[in-house]
C-alpha cells in the first residue's frame, strides 16, 4: 500500500477516535472493545495478510490511539511570556496605529496580523452577518494569497518554478514568525502551502489527502482542536468543501459572465456547504448574503496582503510605511462601507436557532451521498 494511503487511513481513524472520545468520554468498555478488535484483526492479518485486513487493522489501531490521545491530553493553560515574535507583531501594529485612522487600522491589523480585538463589536457583527468574518483573521486564504504572490515574484525575477515554490514557502514561514506564530496562523500556513502545492500540480480536486493528513498532525499535537476550536473546524471543512465541491458549483454558476465573480461564487458556496452545520450548531444563524458579499470582500485581500507585506518589510522607514498604508486606508474604508451596507439588509442573515449534534449525524452522510451522486454523474469535473 502506498504510504500516503496508509497515512490517510491513520488520519481518519485518529480523528474518529478523538471524536469518539468527545462524544462518549473515557470508558473502559470502549478500550476493551477496541483492544479486542485490534487483536482479532491482528491475528487475521498475521495468518491472512490481505489488503482489507491491514486496512481494518490500521483503522482500529488509529481509533484507539486517537481515543487515548485525547484521554491523556492535558492542555497547558499557563500564560506564556510574550515571545520575541509576538513583540515584533505588536511593534508593527503600533506602527499601523500611528499612520492609519483607528477604524481602518483595526481592520488592517486583523487582516494582515490576525489581531481582531481592536475592531468594534458593531463592525464584527456586520462581518458575521455577511459571512465575511473569515477575512478578519490569518486564514489559509490569506496565506495562500501571500504564497502565490511570492511565487509569482520568484518567477518574475527568473527563478525556476521549483525554486520559486520554496521561495514562497520560506516567505510564508517568515511571515508567520513575523506575526508571532499564533497556532491559528501556523495551521493556516500549513493549509496555505498545501493549497499552493496542490495548485501547482494542477489538480486541486484530487489533493484532499494532504489536507486530511495535515489535519491529523494538527489534531495529534492538540486533540482539543477537533471538537472545541470552531476556527479550526471551519477552515478545515472549508478547504475540504473547496476540494470536493468547487467543480460542481463552478457548473452551477456557469452563467455568471465575469470569471472572477464566477470563481468566488463557486468557492464560497463550496466552502459554505461543508461548514453549514458547524455554523448552525454554534451560532444558529446562516448568512444568506454571504456568496454575494464575498465577491466584494475577498478580492480586497490581495492588494491588502501585498501592501501589508510591503509595509512589514519597510515599516522602519516612515515614508515607505505611509506609502504602503495610505492606499490601504481607501481600500478598507470602501470595504467596511460595503460590509456595513450588506450587513444592514434585514434578510442578510437568517436566524434558524441552534441545533443539536443530531444535525451532524444527518447532514454529513447526506452530503457524502450527494457527493457520490455528483461523482457518478461526472458533475464534479471542472467545466
Amino acid at each position: 500500500m502506498h504510504i500516503s494511503r496508509v497515512l490517510t487511513i491513520i488520519a481518519f481513524g485518529f480523528m474518529l477516535g478523538v471524536g469518539l472520545y468527545s462524544a462518549v468520554g473515557f470508558s473502559w468498555w470502549i478500550i476493551a472493545v477496541l483492544i479486542l478488535a485490534l487483536s482479532a484483526v491482528g491475528v487475521i492479518e498475521v495468518t491472512d495478510g490481505s489488503k482489507e485486513t491491514l486496512f481494518s487493522f490500521l483503522i482500529v489501531f488509529s481509533v484507539l490511539v486517537g481515543f487515548l490521545r485525547l484521554a491523556t491530553f492535558a492542555e497547558d493553560f499557563s500564560v506564556a511570556e510574550k515571545t520575541f515574535w509576538e513583540k515584533s507583531r505588536s511593534v508593527l501594529m503600533e506602527k499601523t496605529n500611528d499612520i492609519l485612522p483607528p477604524s481602518e487600522s483595526a481592520v488592517f491589523n486583523a487582516m494582515v496580523f490576525g489581531y481582531e480585538k481592536e475592531i468594534s463589536e458593531d463592525l464584527k457583527t456586520a462581518f458575521n452577518n455577511t459571512g465575511t468574518r473569515h477575512v478578519l483573521a490569518i486564514s489559509g486564504m490569506n496565506i495562500s494569497i501571500i504564497a502565490m504572490m511570492l511565487m509569482s515574484f520568484g518567477l518574475m525575477v527568473g527563478m525556476w518554478r521549483k525554486h520559486s515554490f520554496w521561495f514562497a514557502v520560506l516567505g510564508v514561514v517568515s511571515f508567520i514568525f513575523l506575526v508571532g506564530c499564533p497556532p491559528s496562523a501556523v495551521r493556516a500556513g500549513i493549509m496555505g502551502i498545501i493549497l499552493l502545492w496542490a495548485k501547482n500540480r494542477g489538480r486541486l480536486a484530487k489533493e484532499w489527502r494532504p489536507v486530511v493528513i495535515a489535519g491529523f498532525f494538527m489534531t495529534a499535537l492538540n486533540p482539543t482542536l477537533l471538537v472545541f476550536n470552531i476556527g479550526f473546524q471551519l477552515s478545515f471543512l472549508a478547504v475540504l468543501g473547496i476540494i470536493f465541491f468547487n467543480g460542481f458549483w463552478g457548473r452551477v454558476f456557469k452563467w455568471v459572465p465575469v470569471k472572477f465573480a464566477r470563481d468566488l461564487l463557486s468557492l464560497s458556496m463550496a466552502a459554505q456547504i461543508t461548514t453549514l452545520p458547524v455554523l448552525i450548531y454554534n451560532f444558529g444563524t446562516v448568512s444568506v448574503i454571504s456568496p454575494i458579499a464575498n465577491i466584494f470582500v475577498v478580492p480586497v485581500l490581495t492588494p491588502i496582503m501585498f501592501l501589508g507585506l510591503g509595509f512589514s518589510a519597510f515599516f522602519w522607514w516612515p515614508i515607505a510605511a505611509k506609502i504602503f498604508l495610505w492606499p490601504c486606508w481607501l481600500i478598507l474604508k470602501v470595504t467596511v462601507r460595503i460590509v456595513e451596507f450588506f450587513g444592514a439588509i434585514p434578510w442578510a442573515s437568517v436566524q434558524v436557532g441552534k441545533s443539536g449534534l443530531i444535525l451532524f449525524a444527518v447532514y454529513y452522510p447526506l452530503l457524502f451521498l450527494f457527493w457520490k451522486f455528483l461523482e457518478r454523474k461526472g458533475l464534479n469535473e471542472k467545466v
Binding site: 500611528d98 492609519l100 487600522s105 518567477l155 468547487n246 492606499p327 481607501l330
Partner: protein, 281 residues
Amino acid sequence: MDIQCPGRMINISKKFILGTLAFLTALVFIAVYQKTSQKPEVVFLDVGQGDSILVILPGDIQILIDGGPSDKISAKLSKYFPFYDKDIELAILTHPHTDHLNGLVSVFKDYNVKNFIWSGANYESKLYSNFVEVLKKEGSVIYLAKAGDVVSYGNQPILKILSPPEILLGKSFKDVHDSDVVSEIDLGGKKLLLMGDSNEVVESRLTASNAVTDIDVLKVGHHGSKTATSPQLLQIARPEEAVISVGNNSYGHPAANVLSNLSNIGAKIFRTDKIGDVIYK
C-alpha cells in the same frame, strides 16, 4: 482564493496598471480635497453622557477638549480628520472625571497629541493615575492652565484660558469641579465659551472678575446640571446659542430651570442627545 496558475501573473497587463493609476489618482484627489476643504469649525461631539469638543482649523490643525466617556471617541474623531493626519495639535482636559477623561486615554493611544493643557489638580482615581502614566509616555508638551493664557494660531489668538485663576498643580479639592479649565474660543470674531463642568463657584468667580464678556455660543456647564449656568452668568454672557453635551443619565441633566433660563434670554438650544454631533461653523 484565485485559482490560476501563478505564472500568468507575470504578465502585468495594461488594465492592471491603469487600474492602479486610477486608484492612486483617487487617493491623491481625496487627500487634496480633505486638505483644501478644511474650514474653521467647532464640533460638539455626541459621545453620550460626557463631553468632547473638537476645534478644527485649516492646515490640519485640531484642538480636542475632553475625550468623552468611552473609547468610541477615536473612531468618531476620524470622521473629522483627514486620513493622513494622526496629530492632535492640542488636547485639553477640563477636569479628571470619567465622562471627560476616559476617552482621552484612547485618544492618546490612537493619535499623536503634541500639546496638552490641564489644571494638574489632585484627584484620587485609578483612571486618573493611569492617564498620568499614559501622558508621561506620550511625550506631549504639557502646560498648566492659568487664567490669561492664550493659544494662538498664526498671529491670531484662538483660545483663551479663563479659569483656574492660578496654577493648581498638586492641589486637592473637595469638589474637583472647582478646578475646571474654562476657556473661550475665538472663531473669526465669533466667541464660544466652554464651561466644562464648572459649578456656580467657578461661575461667580468668573463674573466677579469680569472674565466673561458677551459671547455668541455657550457650551452649557456640567451637561445642563442645576448646579451650573446661573442667571447671573447668562445675564453677562448673553449667548445667542447654547449647546448642551448630554446623553442618557440618572442625574436629571439637563435641569428644567436651566433650559427655561436659557430660553428666557432667547438662546437657541442644541442638545447632542437630540441631534447628534453639533457643528458650529
